[in-house]
């Protein structure tokens, strides 16, 4: 990429309905939390410019998807060209943890990424602000089972966050951005854009007057 072009990184947030995907995105992009988010239908996105590795300016385009299984066939339209995928679960909902593997598989099938073996994923366990009594019993053990499983395990960085209180959200997205940037550079180096013209179309230029989200 030329120095004048700002790198645009596409990040997809996946996970069961109600784990807090919208809240995570809103907390990261707008530093706010609300009880008033409606269920996401289809997918929404927001963008945020951040600096990583001290001097590298990137623009994160964060796609917040619908959690209900029925909408999974939509993935093709939204996952394409992704540079990083965030798998979310709710620390009070064991099923959402168990579903992480199928979310990952579904993503790989539909996004058609070139390097499924080492495509960057990251895991976020949200809602750590709630009472311990409500959390999944022996969560760490169960989490390890899922991440350390030799065959097809989700051996990815894990962050525990609270979108409500803004705990760890920033840190998680910084790692997300770094991983996404690596993936983007890998794709560049390999000379094949994940989805040719589509990816170009969403690159924005430094000199453009675009200034953040309109909402």
């Amino acid at each position: 990429m030329s120095g004048r072009k700002k790198t645009l990184l596409k990040v997809i947030i996946l996970g069961d309905s109600g784990v807090g995907k919208t809240s995570l995105m809103q907390q990261f992009v707008n530093n706010k939390f609300s009880h008033q988010y409606k269920a996401t239908i289809g997918a929404d996105f927001l963008t945020k410019e951040i600096t990583i590795d001290n001097n590298k300016q990137v623009s994160l385009q964060i796609w917040d998807t619908a959690g209900q299984e029925r909408f999974q066939s939509l993935g093709v339209a939204f996952y394409r060209g992704a540079d990083c995928c965030v798998l979310c679960y709710d620390v009070t909902n064991e099923k959402s943890l168990n579903n992480l593997t199928s979310w990952k598989d579904e993503f790989l099938v539909q996004s058609n990424v070139t390097n499924p073996q080492d495509f960057p994923f990251i895991i976020i366990g949200n809602k750590i602000d709630v009472d311990d009594s409500k959390k999944i019993p022996s969560l760490q053990k169960k989490l390890q089972n899922i991440t350390n499983n030799q065959l097809g395990g989700l051996n990815y960085p894990v962050f525990e966050t609270s979108a409500k209180e803004g705990i760890n959200v920033e840190a998680a997205f910084e790692v997300i951005a770094k991983m996404a940037l690596q993936q983007e550079e890998l794709n560049d180096a390999n000379g094949h854009d994940v989805s040719d013209d589509y990816n170009d179309a969403i690159n924005i230029h430094l000199e453009s007057e675009y200034s953040g989200c309109a909402c």
Binding site: A39, I41, G42, L74, F78, T92, N93, E94, Y210, C215
Partner: protein
């Protein structure tokens, strides 16, 4: 009911004259007796009105041509079906008195007389044209200000002395028939902190007066500063003109209500086609519940069958809820390892394996419904109450288990709300009408009531309390405490909502089954339509890499309920329900096309990200019903153009 105030009936006892400006318009004897009865005798207005009643055809034409000319959208439907009985002209504005005070008086009393039951002042005022005009009948000159306030312009700014004088005279007269009850109401409306309804300006006023044409003479003049206080001949003419428009508007409004009333009460068998025709252009709030139920085919058109059918359907619903699966619907606990509520199966004894599978699936469904109900219309207070959330959970859950091919899909929780709140509002209206309505029309009223909603045996204690509640007249869905309503009523409203929702969803089953093929088809139809309607826009979206599914999936899945306020959606459904086949499927795509094209210019200046961000949050916050009506009319035109012509273009 014992609470009925006799004085009140004086004011409202003339709804039988509702056609006075309608089909029989111009019959002076109606008008004069009518005014006399209203004690408007201090001026000679009643006499004059009868002599002036056949006012110059010129004036009449003037007004209508003006209205026509500036109301392109109002015409589209009318024009395309030339015999449309809802036309703007045919409603007889044959009485256009020349005297200012008289004309105001005429329209004023007219509105009062034909106003249906007094919905509470203020609270529903922005949703109901009827209640709107009525709400100011305690003698303030607000009558004519009220509707105007809802317009975005000040073209009718009431800054002319003459105008006020006329009104004062009338209001003085009207005070004669004012009564304690009404004053009490007025006072209460001041003391009670009523939340402004989030919805709309009134239904019809905007349809009747020039809106969009900035060149309308009235508008430009009254906007100019020097207009204030002018007494020249010109400005008098101008006032006349304004007054005529106002009368016109009020007549329209009343005629509309009368027509609905006539259709709903005239025959033993309600003429559904007539109802469809008139409903297309919007249904009065008070009559919406019954009209919707008729249009959906839930309430039979044959009146002898209505009570029994509803009774049976409601019983079916209750049995359905009590039946296969027992859920503690009042328990909204979500932190139960991904499931919520206490769910237990009554199937267990037969086939434990099946029931276990069902149980798991049902648990999932219930969990999904539960978390979605909590975030349904999070900004509307009504939906934050546990009673209401329980009702929604029941309706959605029963629908989901009865329709295993789709189950519950997110977005259906949005679709359930218009029915629920319209039916709940209707219950309150029925109570208000029963308590405060006039004797003469009680029998006829019954035909406007959805059967069985009110407790005929007076056993419903909560209903009795509501009847005796001094605030009854003020209650709307925006301020009612849902715990004041009995479970008997909730189960009826739930049942009606359930069946109406089922009818609606029958039309779009494909939207919610696996892979959602209905939505995929609609999205591609939308793209196809845009290629014909606005190729430039299509090309721009293509060039930016925007795919239609990225922004319009939600439009189909939630029927634009995420893009437009629920009040506007309700108005939209009046039209959808009047289309044959119902407009939720094919017609909706045309509406989406009209919706997208509204923003064509905005979109063409934006790049990929900006386009999607824009469409994620389209600027409809200040949309009024007139915007919706314009959009619907445009959609109608597109549909007439392309409906039968799209096949060979694919």
């Amino acid at each position: 009911m014992g609470k009925k105030k006799p004085e009140m009936s004086q004011v409202y006892s003339h709804s039988k004259n509702e056609f006075i400006f309608g089909e029989n318009g111009g019959k002076g004897k109606h008008l004069s007796s009518f005014l006399k009865n209203l004690s408007l005798t201090s001026s000679s207005s009643s006499l004059q009105s009868s002599t002036n009643s056949n006012v110059s055809t010129n004036d009449y034409n003037d007004i209508n041509s003006n209205i026509y000319g500036s109301l392109s959208y109002g015409n589209s439907k009318v024009g395309s079906t030339s015999s449309n009985p809802n036309g703007i002209i045919d409603n007889g504005h044959r009485i256009i008195p020349n005297q200012r005070s008289l004309s105001v008086g005429a329209s004023f009393s007219h509105v009062n007389a034909a106003t249906p039951p007094p919905p509470p002042p203020n609270e529903r005022s922005n949703t109901s044209p009827y209640s709107h005009t009525h709400s100011h009948n305690t003698g303030s000159s607000l009558l004519l200000k009220g509707p105007r306030r809802s317009h975005s312009t000040t073209r009718y700014a009431d800054n002319d002395d003459d105008w006020d004088a006329g009104l004062e005279e009338v209001s003085k007269n009207l005070k004669i028939v004012e009564n304690k009850n009404l004053s009490r109401v007025a006072n209460m409306s001041d003391s009670i902190n009523l939340q402004p309804s989030p919805v709309l300006d009134s239904l019809y006023p905007d349809l009747m007066i020039p809106i969009s044409s900035g060149s309308a003479p009235v508008r430009s003049r009254s906007n100019s500063p020097q207009y204030k206080g002018r007494t020249s001949k010109e400005s008098l003419d101008d006032e006349d003109y304004q007054i005529k428009l106002e009368i016109n508007r009020l007549n329209q409004l009343n005629t509309k209500y009368s027509k609905f009333r006539r259709i709903l009460t005239s025959d033993n068998n309600i003429n559904l086609n007539e109802l469809r025709k008139i409903s297309w252009n919007g249904i009065p709030n008070e009559l919406r519940a019954i009209s919707w139920q008729l249009l959906l085919g839930y309430l039979p058109t044959n009146k002898t069958r209505q009570s029994s059918t509803l009774k049976r359907k409601r019983q079916e619903y209750i049995e359905g809820i009590a039946g296969v699966i027992t859920i503690d619907f009042e328990n909204d606990n979500t932190n139960n390892n991904g499931t919520s509520g206490n769910i237990s199966s009554n199937l267990g004894s037969n086939n434990s394996a099946t029931s276990l599978a069902n149980n798991n699936r049902d648990k999932q469904i219930y969990h999904q419904i539960n978390i979605d109900v909590k975030r349904t219309h999070p900004n509307i207070k009504l939906y934050s109450y546990p009673e209401i959330q329980t009702s929604l959970r029941k309706i959605l859950y029963l629908w989901a288990v009865r329709h295993p091919a789709s189950g519950y899909v997110q977005g259906i929780n949005d679709l359930v709300t218009p029915f629920f709140q319209i039916f709940l509002g209707n219950y309150l209206w029925q109570l208000q009408r029963t308590v405060f309505g006039e004797n003469e029309t009680k029998l006829e009223d019954l035909q406007l009531f959805i059967p069985g909603l009110l407790d005929s045996e007076n056993k419903d204690e909560k209903e009795q309390s509501l009847i005796n509640d001094p605030n009854l007249l003020h209650y709307t869905i925006d301020n009612i405490d849902p715990s004041l309503i009995s479970s008997r009523v909730y189960s009826i409203i739930e049942a009606d909502t359930y069946w109406c929702l089922s009818r609606l969803l029958e039309n779009i089953t494909d939207n919610y089954i696996h892979q959602q093929p209905g939505i995929i088809r609609q999205v591609s139809e939308l793209k196809n339509l845009i290629s014909k309607m606005d190729l430039e826009l299509l090309n721009h979206l293509d060039n930016e890499g925007v795919e239609f599914i990225q922004f319009s999936f939600r439009w189909m899945n939630c029927l634009l309920m995420r893009e437009l306020s629920v009040g506007l959606i309700i108005r939209m459904w009046d039209t959808y329900l009047s289309e044959t086949p119902l407009g939720f499927n094919n017609f909706h795509v045309y509406v989406c096309a009209a919706f997208l094209i509204k923003f064509s210019n905005d979109l063409k200046e934006r790049d990929f990200q900006e386009i999607l961000l824009f469409l994620q949050n389209p600027p409809t916050t200040y949309w009024k019903e007139k915007d919706i009506e314009l959009m619907l009319s445009e959609a109608f035109i597109w549909q007439s153009l392309y409906k039968n012509a799209s096949a060979h273009l694919k």
